[in-house]
């Protein structure tokens, strides 16, 4: 009976739809969420006498945000679309934040306190051009000065109150590019200076009320301009000529134009090409020449003279009015591990208002940008604070000689992620402190019990949270039993490597890539270089960071080897060739370094590590190394094989030539490759066999060499809404990458991309758009091995008449068959990933990064081709869900619960030691980490498990036994007396 009940219970548990679900008080226990904004491009301070002090920033990740100036926290932020790059920020009327984006075609106003969008205006634009935003600084709030915007050949005046376009001026015919807009205070005439074809300077005087041109003057400059411009005063700008050797001062007083040429060589001897730096200083400009920064003072008649010169590594802010017509600016330069912040008056460079020296972390690199703000101290003197942007994209506020706060904004542009183990706890180091006293232990559990029974007061809930965090020891820097504590290694676009702790997301160490060949290499990708087994070798694991000197793919690569435990660089080398593809090979040498092949643009591959041992291992496997390249532009997939050592051309014995083995050519007129995908190389598959309900056996076709390719007709490669269903079709292929054989082809008529896919074990799930139904669809394709299908008879297995031990080779033609099924899905998708566990036993969940920047966990059972409309009893028992036309979106199964991973780019999963559990890390502008148990934690007790209840039950039972024993004794005694 008990067994039957147990079986029923088990059945009930297995058939119930297990979804990730969380109670509200569990949020933040196993997960963390970090909010970032990205590398700051513009910053505008808003430090009125009253109210909160804030700084409005716009970033390279298209974020506009309001930060608390005291603590660096985000008051509000908005992530604009990926193509909606911000060109300018300003504050209008003292209450609106104005942003100009999309090359000057979108103007938005945001409410300063809460970030609510107030108005949005689309401006006409004819072509791509530099854009310009000019927000008037008005002293009287009630008077509405228009905002002037130039972009795409049009000049607009927009009312700051409601975003209404007051007038627009079409300059597209003349090819006039506005460089500066000047609005003298109290005047209705605005001066617009610009260039025509970079050879003619034109000044328009326009009535700011009606947009009528009052006057126009132009003057041709024979040499032509280079486009770099710096305005030095209200009626003067300085430009460089096209040869970058002459500084031209253009005066446009009252609409009259005058040129004054000053060769750079007059200012500095032996000068090369000059470059005007961006900071705006009054009556002065900063020019970079001969790797030095010189300050050039502009005299009343446009006369230039050098007043100061600084080293190249100096960053400067715009100048800022400080009392009595004086203007000051901040400059920051490095000296060893320190930075010097100086605030000087523009007119008297010797008069240093502020000189501060601050210790700076070496791994932040140089200072890229400085934004300065002043405030009046209590003693009525000027105080200064500086917001600096470092080379690693971090943002720091300096005030009174100290770093008030810092934000690691590099983490907003993660390019690659991998995970690493923490060090093993050494003997002698105290293991987690034993629970203080039994009483406290019991108290804690009683609290937990109260929480789970909803009897806890708010104070109790806080106490429970604290207790949980403390007792779990999740923040320790050592390995734990369950593998819950790990390091997440994240490489950022700035070329900085971060190690984050999975417990609380703090940065354990960080390291900026360095190279001799170039100033600062970009980070491309991360690989596990050496993962020593800690029993066998006392050595720290290391990762390989592949970087590149420049953005071009033919630029020389840089390899760095980084110790995972300490974050110290072991070695780094400029490899002298380009990096197109990095292939980790399935071989390791005696020190457990993994062999890697790096392919360059010339068609050679290079073996790393460059040791003779690695070479001998490689020579042994020389014939068995294949790889492929995908030419998305020409629609060809090529398979390559090793040919010989390229000793004939170079003396490098670690360099090899390759030859083409096969090609798959997609007809360019009908198919265009939009997505390719392979399985994760380190994925574990528990079993190849899959038992059907009717005791039938299916063998999964598990191959590491399968490539999923999706193509669309060229017309359908554009956005949704640009094609009709008849014009577009989507075709997916499964290709064997050793032989180039197409194993499966499936075509979807009337569908288009973008395709987001995930490949695991023997199945592919992909998401695309169905134009006919005008809905997104998800299709699953499972691939099975037909040649092994005969091995189901037990007798055959016993008598050895099976082919299970027959070698698997890619050369023989595999007999495969596929099963597929499609479903509707109600949302756009940004990325899809799949959970991965240590042994691959636990059922899998798809992690779907939706357009709303949330991550939805969807059981693989929902995308099972065996789903039917009316599953039989046996199928139901097995857990097959009745077929529905669309996949369910269950709100409780959002793993991000109430968070958004803004700007979601990718999801990475890694197994923990506990089979049921997997690590999930999502990155974008934000970072999010959580632990998932796709089939619940069947192999350990949950955090919720109430030990107190267990204890109380046992005590109660023991008490009951004693009482009943005593009672029965008594009864027996009384019976005997009778």
């Amino acid at each position: 009976m008990a067994i039957r009940v147990f079986l029923l219970l088990l059945l009930f548990l297995s058939s119930a739809i297990v979804s990730f679900s969380l109670y509200e008080d569990q949020a933040g226990l196993a997960d963390w969420h970090q909010r970032y904004i990205g590398k700051v491009k513009h910053a505008v301070f808003h430090t009125q006498k009253t109210g909160r002090k804030r700084v409005i920033v716009s970033t390279e990740e298209n974020v506009v945000a309001s930060l608390d100036l005291r603590h660096g926290e985000i008051f509000w932020r908005h992530v604009l679309g990926t193509k909606d790059a911000i060109d300018g920020v300003g504050i209008a009327l003292g209450k609106y934040v104005i942003t100009l984006s999309s090359e000057g075609s979108t103007l938005r106003a945001w409410n300063l306190p809460d970030g609510q969008m107030v108005w949005e205006t689309a401006l006409s634009s004819a072509h791509h051009s530099k854009s310009l935003l000019s927000v008037p600084i008005n002293l009287k709030v009630d008077k509405d000065y228009p905002i002037t915007v130039f972009g795409g050949g049009y000049l607009h005046a927009v009312s700051a109150i409601d975003g209404e376009v007051l007038w627009e001026k079409d300059f597209t015919a003349e090819g006039f590019e506005v460089q500066r807009v000047l609005q003298p205070l109290g005047s209705t005439v605005i001066y617009v200076l610009g260039f025509v074809n970079l050879s003619e300077a034109v000044v328009y005087q326009i009535d700011s009320k009606i947009g009528e041109v009052v006057a126009q003057k132009s003057m041709v400059f024979p040499g032509g301009f280079s486009g770099e411009i710096s305005s030095v005063s209200s009626d003067k700008v300085v430009v460089l000529d096209s040869k970058k050797s002459i500084l031209v001062t253009i005066g446009f007083i009252d609409g009259d134009i005058s040129f004054q040429k000053t060769p750079v060589s007059d200012l500095v001897e032996n000068s090369g090409n000059a470059e005007i730096l961006s900071p705006l200083l009054s009556n002065m400009l900063a020019v970079k020449v001969n790797k030095r920064t010189i300050f050039v003072k502009v005299g009343g008649e446009g006369k230039l003279e050098v007043v100061d010169s600084l080293s190249d590594e100096t960053a400067m802010s715009d100048s800022l009015p400080v009392a009595d017509d004086q203007e000051a600016f901040a400059s920051v330069h490095h000296e060893g591990s320190k930075i010097h912040l100086m605030v000087k008056l523009v007119n008297e460079l010797d008069n240093v208002l502020l000189r501060e020296t601050i210790q700076m972390d070496q791994h932040r690199g140089r200072v890229h940008k400085v934004f300065m703000n002043n405030y009046i101290r209590t003693d009525r003197s000027n105080g200064f604070r500086a917001l600096i942007v470092m080379e690693d994209h971090s943002l720091l506020l300096l005030q009174q000689g100290a770093i008030v706060w810092s934000r690691e904004e590099g983490l907003a542009s993660v390019t690659d992620v991998t995970t690493a183990e923490l060090p093993v706890e050494k003997d002698g180091v105290s293991v987690a402190k034993v629970e203080h006293t039994l009483f406290e232990w019991l108290k804690g559990h009683v609290l937990k019990l109260k929480g789970s029974l909803l009897l806890a007061s708010p104070e109790d809930v806080v106490a429970i949270q604290e207790l949980r965090v403390k007792s779990s020891g999740k923040n320790k820097l050592t390995r734990d039993h369950n593998g819950f504590r790990k390091l997440i290694l994240a490489l950022t676009r700035a070329g900085k490597l971060f190690a984050l702790h999975t417990g609380d997301g703090r940065i354990v160490w960080s390291m900026l890539l360095k190279s001799q060949a170039c100033e600062r290499p970009n980070g491309i990708s991360l690989y596990q270089w050496q993962v020593p087994h800690h029993h066998a070798m006392d050595k720290n694991p290391s990762v390989l960071v592949v970087g590149r000197c420049g953005s071009d793919s033919s630029a020389p690569g840089v390899l760095s080897f980084v110790d995972v435990y300490t974050g110290k660089k072991i070695t780094s080398s400029d490899i002298g060739h380009s990096v197109v593809q990095v292939l980790p090979l399935p071989f390791t040498d005696s020190t457990e370094q993994r062999l890697h092949l790096i392919a360059d643009t010339v068609g050679h591959v290079h073996l790393y590590p460059k040791t003779s041992e690695a070479l001998s291992i490689f020579q042994r496997e020389f014939q068995n190394i294949y790889w492929y390249t995908v030419g998305a532009d020409d629609g060809i997939i090529r398979g390559h094989v090793m040919k010989s050592s390229c000793s004939g051309e170079t003396a490098d014995e670690y360099c090899f030539t390759t030859r083409e083995l096969w090609t798959v050519v997609f007809p360019s007129e009908s198919e265009k490759i939009i997505s390719t995908l392979t399985r994760k190389p380190n994925e574990v598959v528990h079993t190849q066999a899959k038992v059907n309900t009717d005791q039938d056996l299916l063998y999964k076709y598990v191959s590491r060499n399968l490539l999923f390719v999706a193509t669309v007709s060229p017309k359908g490669a554009g956005e949704i809404g640009s094609v009709t269903p008849e014009e577009s079709s989507l075709v997916v292929y499964l290709i064997d990458t050793i032989t180039g054989r197409i194993l499966h082809r499936l075509s979807h008529q009337g569908c288009q991309g973008p395709v987001h896919a995930v490949f695991s074990e023997n199945w592919v799930v992909y998401h695309y758009f169905n134009l006919r139904a005008h809905k997104y669809e998800v299709t699953v394709v499972e691939i099975y091995d037909q040649s092994r299908a005969e091995n189901k008879n037990v007798w055959k297995l016993i008598l050895g008449k099976h082919n299970l031990t027959a070698p698997i080779t890619s050369y023989s033609r595999p007999e495969v068959f596929t099963k597929s099924q499609s479903y509707f899905f109600a949302q756009s998708v940004k990325t899809i990933a799949v959970t991965s566990t240590a042994k691959g036993i636990t059922s899998k969940q798809l992690l779907i990064g939706t357009i709303g920047d949330q991550i939805l966990a969807l059981d693989k059972r929902f995308v099972d081709p065996r789903r039917t409309l009316n599953p039989s009893q046996a199928e139901k028992e097995e857990g097959i869900i009745p077929l529905t036309d669309s996949l369910p979106i269950i709100p409780q199964s959002y793993v991000t619960h109430s968070h958004r991973v803004e700007g979601l780019k990718g999801i990475v999963t890694a197994p923990s030691k506990l089979e049921s559990t997997t690590h999930v890390f999502a990155y974008g502008v934000d970072l999010f980490y959580t632990r998932l148990a796709p089939s619940k934690t069947y192999d350990s007790l949950t955090d919720d498990f109430s030990y107190a209840l267990l204890l109380i039950t046992i005590v109660a039972l023991v008490a009951a036994i004693y009482i009943t024993w005593a009672l029965s004794e008594k009864k027996e005694l009384s019976e005997k007396w009778r």
């Binding site: 949020a27 609510q116 909803l454 973008p754 269950i890 009951a960 009943t964």
Partner: protein, 208 residues
């Protein structure tokens, strides 16, 4: 376990009907030059008593064609997409705590940018472009209030229950057994001695 609230689309439907009466003036207006049009609409979120209404409003995003264009809501809930070419488009609303159906929007080139909107999930065409959430989304499981049944159903509860059954019901059952039989059984037990583990094993039993 989770549940999908089935009745909410119906409620939303009724809600939409009501809002049509009040917001009949809302226009799905378009204007524009040759081939670029404007889509204007409005997002209406019923005031929620759980979390502040305005706090959520500023975090609503409206996405055209899978995030190709993103716009935000004005304080009155209106949004506009500018420079949209004629064709069939997809509008999605991303708001924390609410599920919105994607909307199919046909911008006609022939009728100077006339816009026709259809809710994809419910296949209902909208006469005005007013988007309402299909349902509210609750991201957390709701803890069930304290319940005696829960305790009883938990493994510990079952254990206690079983013990109670043994302690209180077994004697009752024993009483029903004939005392003579009982004595016989007891005697038999005594004769066999205390049953040991070895005697239970088949091998040990055979050797005896």
């Amino acid at each position: 376990m989770t549940q999908i609230i089935r009745s909410s689309p119906v409620l939303a439907f009724i809600g939409l009907q009501i809002c049509f009466i009040f917001f009949a003036s809302t226009l799905t207006c378009t204007s524009g030059s040759e081939d670029s049009y404007t889509i204007t609409g409005r997002v209406k979120i019923p005031p929620s008593n759980v979390i502040g209404h305005t706090a959520k409003f500023s975090n609503v995003k409206v996405l055209l064609n899978g995030g190709l264009k993103i716009t935000f809501l004005r304080p009155d809930g209106y949004f506009t997409f500018h420079k949209v070419p004629a064709g069939t488009h997809l509008i999605e609303v991303s708001a924390m705590g609410y599920f919105f159906s994607p909307v199919r929007v046909d911008v006609s080139a022939r009728h100077r940018g006339k816009v026709q909107a259809t809710l994809i999930e419910t296949r209902r065409s909208l006469t005005e472009m007013v988007l309402e959430p299909l349902k509210e989304e609750q991201y957390y499981e709701i803890r069930e209030p304290f319940n005696v049944m829960n305790i009883v159903k938990s493994p510990m509860g079952l254990m206690v229950g079983f013990m109670v059954v043994v302690v209180f019901l077994m004697p009752k059952l024993m009483e029903n057994i004939d005392p003579e039989e009982m004595k016989q059984a007891q005697e038999e037990m005594r004769r066999q001695g205390v049953p040991s583990l070895t005697s239970l094993l088949p091998g040990a039993g055979a050797s005896r």
